[in-house]
């Protein structure tokens, strides 16, 4: 290894492999895998797209401190919320971001337990996405309160007022669900990074060596280390797996436990979980497709990966559509006049366009994924992913403001229009997410090197 000339760049020239039905294109040795992935961070030239994206993201990110700063100083009246619509973009975006995070946990935890090899190439990437999405999501519950400086009252801490959070409120469950989720996700991601951080430490030059060295926690790759790593990883996977189901179930309780028509629905927990995975995979695809291309990672993130992700997206998308259908059915079947009015308001009320756009984005657009060629086309997948991301945002719009803007007493009905500060916070959080994501790509190995190395077939095996 010492003799290796890093300045040569990628060892193998990028080759387009048609219909690669493998999880790793088998022309790599352990060394080339490591060189390629670590090289992205350590010595390969950074593609110009990275500079463009991170510059844009950094600029867009400035909207966040601007919007939130004004919000804290002046009050949340800067947003478009009102009476009757007490929640608007704040909670829409909270649920949207939380949902996006789910793909990471599903990939890293559930697929690990199911020993799905294809997860290895995308897990690190998706987990990072999870963490950044949860960070974005976490902004909203804090800043959406009327007095954000007191938002910590939702935490159970001993205090002189002898007051605890009110345990019947789903918002308190949210605090626990989301904070647990964030903690476990960060731990899982970090533990998974340790062996690769050690590799980076060994290869980095200059100051980076010390940073990676510090973060690698003295990993030396001994059998004992590997044994402990495997145990920790399995335990964390076991912890994370129920979180995939619980976090979004609990988020859905924010609505399902309410009595507003459009909220008061038992179908919400499974339908929210499916929606989260759906949105999450759309986001993974959105990020993975361009990054794979820019960094020439087609050997590691193969078409098989894309197809598998498309399949999960398709399946969860169909579950979500079933949820939509059930809402329609139950509105009719319940015979409840308020439920029916809620449905009619969706179908032909002032925001009907949003509801129909939702069906187009989440119902219609994914139907193309019945076809294998579509599931393997980066263009199709990228476009469908955009539809799904928009669609899942619309779903939350349909559920949150569209349900409360016309509920029981017609005299109190109103309309909801987002303001520039709503948009500023939302777009700013997208900039924040993208900025963090691209910093991650630049600074850490975005694909788990040691896991990919387990996929490299030894010559003996290859000969079988």
């Amino acid at each position: 290894m010492a003799a290796h000339d890093h300045s040569l760049g990628p060892v193998l020239p990028p080759v387009k492999i048609e219909h690669a039905d493998v999880v790793l294109v088998q022309r790599h040795s352990n060394t080339t895998v490591t060189d390629k992935i670590a090289g992205v961070v350590l010595w390969s030239p950074t593609p110009k797209q990275w500079f463009v994206i991170i510059a844009i993201a950094f600029m867009v990110l400035q909207l966040l401190p601007f919007s939130l700063g004004n919000l804290v100083v002046q009050g949340i009246g800067l947003w478009g919320i009102n009476s009757p619509v007490g929640w608007g973009f704040d909670i829409i975006n909270f649920v949207w971001w939380i949902g996006i995070g789910h793909a990471g946990t599903l990939i890293s935890a559930v697929l690990l337990l199911f020993r799905q090899e294809w997860r290895m190439a995308i897990a690190r990437f998706a987990e990072a996405m999870t963490i950044f999405a949860v960070m974005c999501a976490g902004l909203y519950p804090v800043f959406h309160t009327g007095r954000p400086w007191l938002a910590y009252w939702l935490l159970p801490y001993p205090n002189t007022m002898a007051l605890w959070p009110q345990p019947r409120s789903p918002l308190v469950w949210d605090v626990f669900a989301v904070s647990t989720y964030a903690t476990v996700s960060i731990l899982f991601w970090y533990v998974g990074l340790i062996p690769d951080l050690a590799t980076m430490r060994d290869r980095a030059k200059g100051f980076g060596k010390y940073i990676y060295g510090f973060l690698a926690l003295g990993w030396r790759g001994s059998a004992k280390h590997w044994h402990r790593y495997e145990t920790a990883s399995l335990l964390l996977a076991g912890l994370s797996t129920p979180l995939v189901l619980s976090v979004h179930s609990i988020v859905s309780f924010d609505f399902a436990t309410g009595l507003i028509p459009g909220w008061h629905t038992t179908v919400f927990p499974p339908y929210f979980v499916a929606g989260a995975v759906f949105a999450g995979f759309a986001m993974v695809l959105t990020l993975a497709i361009p990054v794979r291309k820019w960094y020439g990672l087609e050997d590691f993130i193969t078409d098989r990966h894309l197809e598998n992700m498309a399949k999960v997206m398709f399946a969860t998308g169909m579950i979500v559509c079933y949820g939509y259908f059930l809402e329609v059915f139950m509105a009719w079947y319940s015979g409840n006049e308020y439920e029916w009015a809620m449905l009619m308001n969706r179908v032909k009320g002032p925001y009907a366009a949003m509801y129909w756009a939702l069906w187009i984005c989440n119902g219609l657009s994914i139907q193309i994924l019945w076809f294998k060629w579509a599931r393997r086309s980066t263009t199709v997948l990228f476009i469908v992913s955009q539809f799904v991301s928009v669609g899942m945002w619309l779903e939350r719009f349909v559920i949150i403001p569209m349900s409360i803007h016309r509920d029981f007493i017609p005299a109190s009905w109103g309309m909801y229009y987002p303001t520039v500060f709503d948009w500023g916070t939302f777009i700013g959080s997208m900039g924040f997410f993208t900025f963090l994501m691209f910093l991650f790509i630049r600074g850490l190995p975005m694909i788990s090197m040691f896991e990919i190395r387990t996929l490299v077939k030894r010559p003996a095996e290859a000969n079988h």
Binding site: N82, T145, G146, W153, L154, L259, P410, A411
Partner: protein, 1001 residues
């Protein structure tokens, strides 16, 4: 400053003297300049005149540009004050405590507040440590019976209004009363020599006997002087109608409680006009218990009013049609007037039959703005039906001088134009703003040599006057007023004038050289002279009268009147029909006098639910004709431009515009709100512009409305039935609900002590809004402004939902006050993450503001949407004068917290303190919520549900009692008594009326 010509030239400084002065003085001495240190008289003079040029500009509201300048200046000046100690304030206990004062406990004083036409509203004012904070009706007062209207409730904000005229201004510069008095004395000298020639006094309608006596004294002293009264929404038409009918301008007093059938001709007698508060109560008393019979109300009116929406039959009609209807009604009922035809013959026939069948127990009421002929016809009909002495009696006019104000004003303006007026004293009113456009009052005023203005605001009129003298607010005054029935109502000040305000009688005293006497004594001596001889122990009697707020037994005696034979002839020809623009006083700001009252500006108008704007109100068909929709700007008669608002139930062809807007100089609140319709007014036709051109300008304007949706969507929200249906099925409101029993897995709350409950009788509610303002005053509820209302963020804890039912051209209109329901299973309580909203052991759903972090989940989950959120810092924490207004028993909420109706928990707690001190339970009726207290018609009941003898328990046992959205299982503590109407079978076939009842179908 050197450019200012009138600065005194400082004398050379004597530094030795300054040193000597500074050495002599003890304690902290700070001086800003050597001149000050010298204590030079020139410096004192300079201080007095410090703000000379440009001061007039400053007395306007602070403009944004000015604000920035001031901020800069403040920064600079901050350096001057930063090293100054605050003046020491000493807190000393009372040596002899004032009687009855317990710190922290309010006292209540009786007083009176003049309304439109100078007619007294009898009030009780709550005073916290000499700080008036809340107005209630005076139960002893015949005009109140404990109720008040919205304007009376809002008067307390008028008192504390920081924009009131604060100091004497002479030609726009600060001056003093001392100088004003000197000028008035000079004026007196001049007047004495000329017997008052060229002196004119212009006031609003005066009903005050003592002020009237002072004016008469003035006119006697200066025989050439003249007194003119003018009020834009005065009672000229009523007086003229009475003159036609009886030959004298008598005032009609109605006994609504004696009438089984009432016909209101363009009359909103339940909400506006003298006696409305009393009439609302009397009217509701005949509808409270449908089982024992109901009265029946027919309303014929151009635009829907609360009275029209309370009517059993309502007929939209243009003003010409109203008069035609009145003529036909009179002819049919044998009043000896010529016959007339009407459009809706069935309506007329039914009304005629009903009235004829109830001779002596029927009543026809003409509206305040109805033409004199309609008033005369109403009198004639009442006479023909034998109602006089039974449902109506007549008294001597309550006004001191029942003159024809329009004629008086016209003559005055003529004299002003001709230069015959040397001095004009304008006391109250605002003629530059509110006189008819054709008189060109402002131009005429400029020809008057000396213009003196006594007003509560430095307003449009003040701007044209040489002297602006601040006038005291009624709550700062001693005085007397007459109520609608002539009862002498006494005013006593609740607080010394906040600014340098004085009353008219004080200014007159200077002119009469009778100054120096306390007004309290002037009023008392006036009455000693009037009734002292016939009253033993007058001093004691007076003390009791002041305490009661009225002179007992002073109601004017009924007057015997006889219809004149010339009546039919003097009615004149029937008015021409056709498209018309009707001008009406705004239901909230009236003729504009309350334009700076933010509570009234933000109060949704009873029918349109508009706030912060007036509008061109038109029927759907009229709007269609002009291609207008809500907010379209139209130009009327090429004189004013305003936004259209479509009102279902308005008469086609009749456009209604409210007066009182478009103020340019009243204060930060009222300036520039809406458009002034006075430009449409002529002295000949003050209320109606016939054939005015209506041009759609193509522009539009955003209107701030609190209720966007007027249909009940077929839901059982306001439940109603006709009297027949009610008789057949008294529990019509709940019979469907009773079929579905709701079960709960959880045990019910147990209430050992009290269990509070509230009920609203929809049969009594007129939608007058008094409760909303009462609640706002009691609970320190902030105003949010037009922009925030437009965003759906109004803060009223009790709102009045208004629903239209039936055809768009003449719908039934329902009002439903909605406040927190205090649910037993409150959807808000469970979802609050920090337990800021909880269930009390007395059943209240209570808000802990300090704990609220503002997630708004409670508001989202509230099916009644009664929760209000402080999206910004809505409470005004900076304006000092408003601090005095606040109820100290209620938290002033900060930004970011939720709030809502508390069932006036502070009032419950006061009652609890009293009861516990006496070791007893709170008695029924001891806790009266603010809305309940204010309600003129007594539609709101409140009490302890655990006290089985309480009124609330009886009310809730009524078969009409129902709760909103019971199928949700919320178990509200607030309930409603369903509406029962009493339609005439001739007009309402049985099949048409389908009762609305609860439950899902």
């Amino acid at each position: 400053m050197s450019s200012q010509p009138n600065l005194p030239i400082p004398p050379p400084l004597d530094l030795e003297a300054i040193r000597a002065r500074l050495d002599e003085s003890k304690g902290p001495q700070f001086w800003r300049s050597l001149e000050e240190a010298a204590g030079a008289p020139e410096f004192q003079a300079w201080l007095d005149h410090e703000f000379t040029d440009g001061t007039s500009e400053w007395s306007d509201g602070v403009s944004r540009r000015r604000m920035v300048e001031l901020l800069g200046a403040t920064l600079g000046l901050a350096g001057l004050t930063s090293c100054t100690k605050q003046p020491p304030e000493k807190i000393v206990p009372y040596v002899t405590a004032p009687e009855d004062v317990v710190p922290g406990r309010p006292l209540t004083f009786a007083s009176s507040i003049p309304g439109v036409g100078g007619v007294a509203a009898g009030v009780l004012v709550e005073s916290h440590m000499n700080r008036p904070t809340k107005i209630e009706g005076n139960p002893e007062h015949p005009g109140s019976r404990g109720g008040t209207d919205a304007q009376t409730q809002a008067a307390i904000l008028g008192l504390w209004d920081p924009d009131r005229a604060q100091t004497v201004l002479r030609e726009g510069r600060n001056s003093t009363w001392q100088r004003a008095d000197e000028s008035l004395k000079l004026l007196r000298e001049q007047m004495l020599s000329r017997k008052g020639a060229g002196f004119r006094l212009l006031t609003e309608t005066v009903t005050s006997p003592s002020t009237g006596a002072a004016i008469k004294d003035l006119l006697a002293t200066f025989p050439e002087a003249k007194w003119v009264q003018y009020e834009p929404a005065g009672r000229d038409n009523a007086r003229a109608g009475a003159r036609i009918a009886f030959g004298e301008p008598v005032t009609a007093v109605y006994h609504v409680d004696q009438a089984a059938v009432i016909v209101a001709l363009d009359s909103d007698f339940l909400v506006s006009g003298p006696g409305a508060v009393r009439y609302a109560r009397d009217f509701a008393d005949r509808r409270r218990n449908p089982a024992s019979g109901m009265n029946r109300l027919y309303a014929v009116e151009p635009t829907p009013t609360p009275t029209g929406s309370s009517a059993d039959h309502r007929l939209p009609a243009t003003s010409a049609e109203v008069e035609g209807f009145a003529r036909a009604l009179a002819a049919e009922l044998g009043a000896g007037t010529p016959a007339a035809t009407v459009k809706n013959a069935a309506f007329l026939k039914a009304a005629v039959a009903d009235l004829a069948a109830n001779k002596g127990a029927s009543l026809v009421i003409a509206g305040e703005q109805a033409p004199p002929a309609v008033h005369a016809l109403a009198h004639a009909i009442n006479a023909a039906l034998g109602n006089i002495g039974k449902t109506v009696h007549y008294i001597d006019p309550v006004e001191v001088s029942p003159a024809d104000q329009a004629a008086g004003l016209k003559e005055l303006v003529g004299e002003m134009q001709a230069g015959k007026v040397d001095t004009l004293l304008i006391a109250g009113g605002n003629p530059v703003y509110n006189t008819p456009a054709d008189l060109k009052f402002a131009a005429a005023l400029r020809k008057v040599k000396v213009r003196i203005r006594l007003g509560e605001y430095d307003d449009e009129t003040g701007a044209v006057c040489h002297w602006v003298l601040p006038m005291a607010h009624p709550l700062e005054c001693w005085g007397d007023l007459r109520a609608f029935d002539g009862t002498v109502s006494l005013m006593q000040p609740l607080i010394a004038p906040l600014y340098e305000g004085k009353q008219l009688i004080e200014v007159l005293a200077v002119l009469l050289e009778k100054g120096g006497r306390e007004i309290r004594d002037v009023v008392k001596e006036h009455w000693r002279a009037q009734i002292g001889a016939s009253t033993p122990h007058f001093d004691d009697f007076w003390q009791k009268s002041i305490h009661d707020g009225l002179i007992a037994g002073s109601a004017s005696p009924a007057k015997t009147v006889a219809l004149r034979k010339e009546l039919a002839a003097e009615l004149g020809a029937a008015p021409a029909g056709g498209d018309e623009v009707l001008l009406r006083p705004c239901p909230n700001v009236q003729d504009g006098r309350h334009a700076n009252n933010a509570w009234l500006q933000e109060l949704p108008r009873p029918i349109s639910k508009l706030t912060w704007d007036n509008a061109v109100l038109m029927s759907p068909a009229t709007a269609q004709k002009h291609g207008a929709s809500n907010g379209s700007m139209v130009r009327l008669a090429n004189a004013v431009t305003g936004p259209v608002w479509i009102v279902p139930g308005q008469a086609d062809g009749s456009i209604v515009v409210h007066l009182g807007y478009g103020r340019t100089r009243v204060g930060k609140i009222g300036n520039g709100v809406g458009f002034s319709a006075y430009a449409l007014r002529t002295s000949a036709n003050p209320w109606r512009v016939l054939g005015a051109e209506v041009r759609n300008t193509g522009d539009s304007q955003v209107m701030a409305v609190t209720q966007e949706h007027g249909s009940m969507e077929g839901r059982a929200i306001v439940r109603k039935a006709s009297l027949d249906e009610y008789t057949k099925q008294p529990d019509f409101a709940t019979h469907e609900e009773k079929k579905h029993k709701l079960f709960s897995l959880y045990p019910e709350w147990k209430y050992e002590g009290y269990s509070w409950g509230l009920a609203v009788d929809l049969n009594a509610c007129t939608g007058c809004n008094a409760c909303t303002i009462a609640c706002q005053a009691e609970n320190n509820i902030p105003v949010v402004g037009k922009d925030q209302v437009n965003r759906g963020r109004e803060m009223h804890w009790i709102r009045i939902d208004r629903y239209f039912e039936g055809s768009i051209d003449n719908p039934a209109i329902h009002h439903q006050p909605v406040m927190c329901m205090h649910c037993e299973n409150a959807p808000c309580e469970g979802v609050c993450p920090v337990a800021a909203t909880t269930h009390s052991e007395e059943g209240l759903n209570q808000m802990t503001y300090n704990r609220c972090v503002g997630t708004r989940y409670c508001a989202n989950n509230c099916p009644y949407k009664v929760r209000r959120f402080n999206f910004f810092l809505y409470s005004d924490w900076d304006t000092k004068s408003l601090h005095g207004l606040r109820n100290p028993d209620v938290t002033v909420r900060s930004r970011g917290v939720m709030e809502k109706c508390s069932y006036c928990v502070q009032r419950i707690n006061w009652a609890r303190i009293d009861a516990e001190r006496e070791s007893r339970r709170i008695k029924d009726g001891e806790v009266v919520t603010a809305c309940q207290a204010a309600c003129p018609s007594g539609a709101i009941y409140f009490g302890d549900l655990n006290d089985k003898t309480s009124q609330i328990v009886k009310v809730k046992a009524d078969t009409r009692n129902y709760a909103l959205l019971t199928d949700l299982g919320t178990k509200p503590r607030t309930s409603y008594l369903a509406k029962v109407t009493n339609p005439n079978q001739e007009l309402a076939p049985r099949a048409e009326a389908k009762p609305a009842h609860g439950g899902n179908h």
